[in-house]
Symmetry: C2
Subunit: 100 residues, 2 copies
DNA sequence: AAGGCTTACGCCAACCGTAACTATT
DNA sequence: AATAGTTACGGTTGGCGTAAGCCTT
């Protein structure tokens, strides 16, 4: 499981559409389809019900969505924490931030 | 940024050693080195001070460690949520978990 | 000189986009 | 028949392991 998978999953869940998610993510529909499939395989359960009317979350999908969002938010917190400590563009911090 | 990066970062931080982290992660030292470098580049700041005595966290590294752990825990929560809803080995849930 | 982090190199696996296919409305 | 998701295919990218390099102790 990677953040990329979760990002894609959340996009599809919110758009309730693979194609709209692809547009939002600026990628091809096939990539979205494959990424969701990979995640479903890894988690051992379908996340979306594709057949009947349109795309909707399965029970597993609904149970997973909140934690997926929380994970993405946590990842953003990592970026923020780093940025807060080292707000420079790059080089000076990369060479040495050192300690207090 | 991917979960793989964070996993490696946390391992190095806990072992305070790239080589021991590599052993723990069952991978080569060079892979650990490259992964940490990639994360540092993306976050825009060094996470470890490698030169003086041994390997130790920089200020940025310390600020980032907790959120990195939280992200990994959140990712585990995703797995747990899915497993809880769909506790089967695979196929039945993959075909259709459906809703209530 | 030995241990440990980094860089170079070659290989392999994974991802992506295009395009063809299938199914549903 | 048109829209939407999946599968196939070829190309590119990225990560890993081995091995050589470099620096510190």
């Amino acid at each position: 499981m990677e953040l990329r998978h979760l990002h894609t999953f959340v996009a599809v869940a919110e758009e309730r559409s693979f194609s709209r998610a692809a547009t939002r993510l600026r990628t091809a529909q096939s990539a979205v389809s494959r990424t969701v499939q990979a995640l479903e395989r890894e988690l051992g359960g379908a996340l979306f019900e594709r057949s009947r009317h349109h795309v909707e979350l399965t029970k597993t999908g609904r149970a997973t969505l909140d934690t997926a969002r929380a994970t993405l938010a946590a990842a953003e917190a990592v970026r923020d924490a780093a940025r807060r400590t080292c707000p420079l563009p790059a080089d000076e911090c990369l060479v040495e931030t050192s300690d207090a």
